[in-house]
């Protein structure tokens, strides 16, 4: 974009009008800079949902501090007619509401961007190549909100009104979004709509349009839903019939449990008013997973949700779950580490530690959802897999997927009956005359279990994390120990055939391929589109969705000359895990594109690194 056209400086009011050639329609990003705790979340959500209501594909990302109130926070909204939902580095429209960061915020813009800000900040002094829209927020707010203590909140709706007018978002769409936000609270609805209108009216009167960014009605969001990954995973668990939930609060997983509780209260109170579920806020993550395993052992579908520090604490119990073969579902919404790390920043750095969580030869089944839809589907499937495989199953999403709002197709109802796995009843025991808990009767490495309370004198067995033989009796005999360990390895092979298979997202017979998982998917797809556009280069792409990997991963590596493994951690954890599986002549094909600064990975970063590595 020619910056000169828009470098209006102090004289902007007389020169600038939207140049038809420079119109940027449904393809830009907005950043709202506010202070944590100022209640901007509703306003941002309304802005996002208004664009959604206009039929334009949209995504939102909350970049927030680990703080209750007072620190800077940013919310980014990306409108993309092509449906790209990854983070975009470039900001086109800034809404600067935080005095503390305003200077930095405006200095970070590209020439030709637009900035809406509180007029007192006088941001024009810093940039003459950015379209400036000063707004007297306090004055406008005071006029529509007589109650002083509400003004801090209502003020945010004024910027929604200003932005809606400037971006040409229909007022009806804003109103529809507000309706959703405030549901049946008419008073709040009226007050906030008043603020939106006042903002829009001010903009209409005082702020002639000088930037090129516009929202125009499309029809690309009809039938779509907007949901965050944590709520989607919670829905999956509730539809999988979870009955015992034990947890300890930790960002960014907390909303998984809070959403689960909401749904359970809505859908799982029976006709007598009794709960078909139990939720326990445990004293720590050790207790949370202990409860999950105790409940799983006794026949309940049980789950917990946590993040990195909690995963570390769950290590010992995870090994018990693996070795004693007890089902349970653990959602890990990843944040950055090591240690406390940056609790409100995203990453994919728990993959390796989760795969081998606990001492000894321990290996875990991990599901890797790459969208909110998969959060729902895998949130559901994890319970079937845990009971089928009699082992803890981990679902690894991340802060970006879990806590941000995403557009999605509606979720399909899982109509297949629940798979409760190999459980013997008293009738089975009458027929069989008894059973050996850890015997590999079917050759798939999975034994048969009984549940406590089974009304048969031969139903009981002794569950232990100490050495045991196929009859669950204590052993220190080398042969018996090896037998159990080899069967567990066989069970892990069986898991390969049951976990979600990788998805071949792009297959053109190209020489080079990309492997990625989870939220990297959005940026990878966009980067590969750009690569094709800019460099006429086709790249194939396989998205892995679970560990253990299955044969499709081996085939993909074998059929390409070079493989770029794209992931959001420093140590190339997916690549490392793949290399453990691959033959030496295949493993050398892997190289890495890594992103680990705490922000969601973006297409531009992948594209530029790939281009350099390919010598483009």
């Amino acid at each position: 974009m020619a910056t000169g056209d828009l470098a209006l400086g102090h004289e902007q009011s007389k020169s600038a009008v939207v140049d038809a050639r420079a119109r940027v329609v449904n393809d830009f990003s907005i950043q709202v800079a506010t202070v944590n705790g100022s209640g901007s979340q509703s306003a941002n959500s309304v802005l996002l949902k208004s664009i959604f209501d206009m039929g334009v594909p949209v995504s939102g990302k909350n970049l927030f501090p680990s703080n209750i109130a007072g620190l800077p926070t940013w919310y980014t909204i990306r409108a993309s007619k092509d449906g790209y939902v990854a983070r975009r580095k470039r900001i086109d429209v800034l809404i600067a509401m935080n005095a503390e960061t305003a200077r930095e915020d405006i200095l970070g813009l590209h020439p030709g961007s637009a900035a809406i800000y509180d007029e007192a900040l006088n941001l024009r002094q810093y940039r003459d190549d950015v379209v400036c829209y000063p707004v007297p927020f306090d004055k406008i707010t005071a006029a529509v909100c007589p109650e002083a203590k509400l003004r801090k909140l209502v003020r945010n709706m004024v910027y929604v009104g200003v932005a809606a007018h400037l971006l040409q978002i229909d007022m009806a769409s804003v109103e529809a979004a507000l309706h959703k936000q405030f549901a049946k609270k008419q008073k709040a609805m009226d007050l906030n709509m008043g603020a939106v209108r006042a903002g829009a009216e001010y903009a209409a009167e005082h702020l002639p349009k000088q930037d090129p960014f516009l929202i125009e009605r499309m029809n690309a969001t009809a039938g779509k839903i907007i949901i965050d990954g944590n709520s989607a995973a919670a829905l999956g668990a509730v539809f999988a019939g979870v009955t015992v939930v034990a947890w300890y609060p930790i960002t960014p997983s907390t909303s998984t449990i809070e959403a689960t509780i909401d749904y359970l209260k809505k859908f799982r109170i029976n006709a007598e008013g009794k709960a078909t579920f139990a939720v326990v806020q445990a004293e720590d993550e050790l207790a949370a997973i202990g409860m999950v395993l105790g409940a799983g052992w006794a026949g309940a579908r049980s789950m917990t949700a946590t993040s990195g520090p909690g995963i570390s604490l769950m290590a010992e119990f995870s090994g018990l779950g693996y070795f004693a073969e007890i089902p349970g579902v653990i959602f890990d919404v990843q944040r950055t580490g090591p240690s406390t790390g940056m609790p409100t920043r995203t990453s994919q750095a728990d993959l390796l530690s989760t795969a081998f969580l606990s001492h000894g030869d321990t290996k875990h089944v991990i599901l890797l959802p790459g969208s909110v839809k998969e959060c729902f589907e895998f949130g559901y499937a994890a319970f079937d897999l845990a009971e089928r495989l009699q082992t803890p199953v981990f679902v690894l999403s991340d802060l970006d997927l879990g806590m941000n709002n995403w557009m999605s197709d509606p979720f399909d109802y899982p109509s297949k009956p629940l798979d409760r796995g190999k459980v013997l009843t008293a009738e089975d025991l009458n027929r069989l005359g008894g059973f050996a808990r850890y015997a590999d009767v079917d050759g798939d490495g999975i034994g048969y279990r009984t549940l406590p309370g089974t009304d048969h004198p031969k139903a009981a067995y002794f569950t232990r994390g100490s050495g045991h033989n196929s009859k669950a009796a204590y052993t220190e005999k080398p042969d018996e120990y090896v037998e159990v360990m080899e069967r567990l390895a066989r069970k892990f092979k069986t898991a390969q055939t049951l976990v979600p298979a990788p998805v071949l997202e792009r297959s053109t017979g190209a020489k080079i391929g990309v492997i990625a998982f989870g939220t990297s998917d959005f940026a990878v797809n966009e980067a590969l589109d750009e690569l094709k556009k800019q460099h006429k280069l086709d790249v194939d792409y396989l998205r892995v969705r679970a560990y253990p990997f299955n044969d499709a991963v081996h085939e993909f590596v074998a059929s390409h000359q070079r493989i770029y493994v794209v992931e959001q951690n420093r140590d190339a954890q997916l690549a490392s895990l793949l290399k453990l599986d691959l033959a030496a002549d295949q493993a050398v094909k892997l190289r890495s594109i890594l992103h680990y600064n705490g922000l969601p990975i973006d297409a531009e970063s992948i594209l530029s690194e790939l281009a350099v590595k390919e010598g483009l």
Binding site: L235, F239, A240, G241, V242, T243, V244, A246, Y263, F267, N270, E272, G273, K274, A275, T276, F277, A278, V279, V280, A282, E283, D284, L286, A287, A288, I289, G290, M291, L293, G294, A295, G296, W297, A298, G299, A300, R301, S302, E316, F317, L320, P410, F411, Y413, S415, P417, A426, L451, P452, G453, T454, D455, H456, P457, A459, A460, Y461, F462, T463
Partner: protein, 351 residues
């Protein structure tokens, strides 16, 4: 069910209990603990109590952590499911298991190291919840499996075989349990058959958290001159605060004690725990008095035994959770998986 039925009259056979089972059906595997270990005596009393109370073995879940004590569930009640978990974490496993099936009786066995050191965090939170279960600490003040280090219940001045003297104060798990919300708290001695049996039987009738600290001398590492958890020390310093009698709801109540010196505590199932007062001022339903009595005994160098606190009617964790009657673990799919219409509605609300 293939369990034994009552022996027909006239045929000599093993004595059976009220559900027709001989005591052998309550036994477990052969113990691998040391000969003379107090824990074995406790296992025997557990067998007796379950037999005498006529508990169906399959209706019991045994839970334990790690340590000598935690091995003992293998040595009684083989017909019950058992879960030997990880060190200090039995309370959480028990909590999960009870939530999955609250219709069963949960019997947890822990040790002083398993509870008062590594497991303190889970122990205190379990007591707070009043989860219906029996939690037994087999308390010898010493780590046996690692060959004799002090635990956190060892008394000040207690001496190891190696000559090391403990100079840190002991944790009184009973005082803690009372303060935290357990609703049946007592201390006994593995060598006191009568008291321990009565206490266990009453525990079986109780519906909230039962916490029993049972002093159980370690014959290998802590039963010598200088140990305050030895047989000899306990025989000399054991001060019962009450004599226990327990009358289950299915037995006729007979008067064993002089009415003037007894307290009857009605259990929720109609059973009766009868405490004959040895201390005139002792009221087992008064939290403050109970803790006071325990603290006083510490000052005097006594080891009090007896039931210190009983609160039969306090709502249990299961009551607070408002759970359905049928165990969560055996809910049919129709009760736990919402319908397609429900999902459709949720989807519509997100559009």
């Amino acid at each position: 069910m293939a369990t034994a039925t009552a022996t027909p009259t006239g045929t000599p056979g093993p004595k059976v209990n009220r559900i027709g089972l001989p005591v052998i059906e309550y036994r477990g595997g052969k113990t691998t603990l040391c000969a003379g270990c107090g824990h074995n005596a406790i296992s025997e009393r557990i067998v007796d109590a379950l037999f005498e109370m006529g508990v169906q073995p399959e209706r019991v879940m045994k839970l334990s952590g790690i340590g000598c004590s935690s091995k003992s569930p293998a040595y009684f009640l083989s017909r019950a499911h058992s879960f030997n978990s990880v060190h200090g974490r039995m309370p959480s496993v028990a909590t999960g298991a009870v939530l999955a099936n609250h219709t069963m009786m949960a019997l947890g066995v822990s040790g002083d190291g398993d509870t008062a050191s590594i497991g303190m965090g889970q122990f205190v939170h379990m007591m707070r919840r009043n989860l219906p279960m029996i939690y037994i600490i087999e308390d010898n003040g010493v780590y046996g499996l690692t060959k004799g280090q002090f635990s956190a219940t060892a008394d000040i001045g207690s001496k190891l075989k190696t000559g090391v003297i403990n100079d840190l104060p002991p944790i009184d798990t009973c005082a803690m349990a009372i303060q935290l919300g357990a609703t049946f708290v007592g201390r006994s001695f593995s060598g006191d058959k009568k008291q321990l049996l009565a206490m266990l039987k009453a525990a079986i009738a109780h519906k909230g958290t039962v916490m029993l600290d049972v002093i159980s001398p370690c014959v290998t590492f802590n039963d010598h001159e200088g140990s305050t958890k030895s047989y000899k020390f306990m025989q000399e310093h054991d001060e019962p605060i009450n004599e226990l009698g327990f009358v289950p709801s299915f037995e006729e109540i007979d008067v064993e004690y002089d009415a003037g010196t007894t307290t009857d505590v009605k259990m929720h199932d109609g059973s009766s725990l009868r405490l004959r007062k040895l201390r005139e001022d002792f009221d087992p339903t008064n939290k403050v008095a109970s803790v006071h009595t325990l603290m006083e005994a510490h000052e005097n160098g006594e080891v009090l035994t007896g039931v210190f606190y009983v609160e039969p009617e306090k709502p249990s964790f299961i009551d607070l959770l408002n759970l359905v009657d049928q165990p969560l673990g055996s809910q049919p799919e129709s009760a736990t998986k919402p319908s397609a219409e429900v999902l459709q509605k949720v989807m519509a609300s997100l559009q």
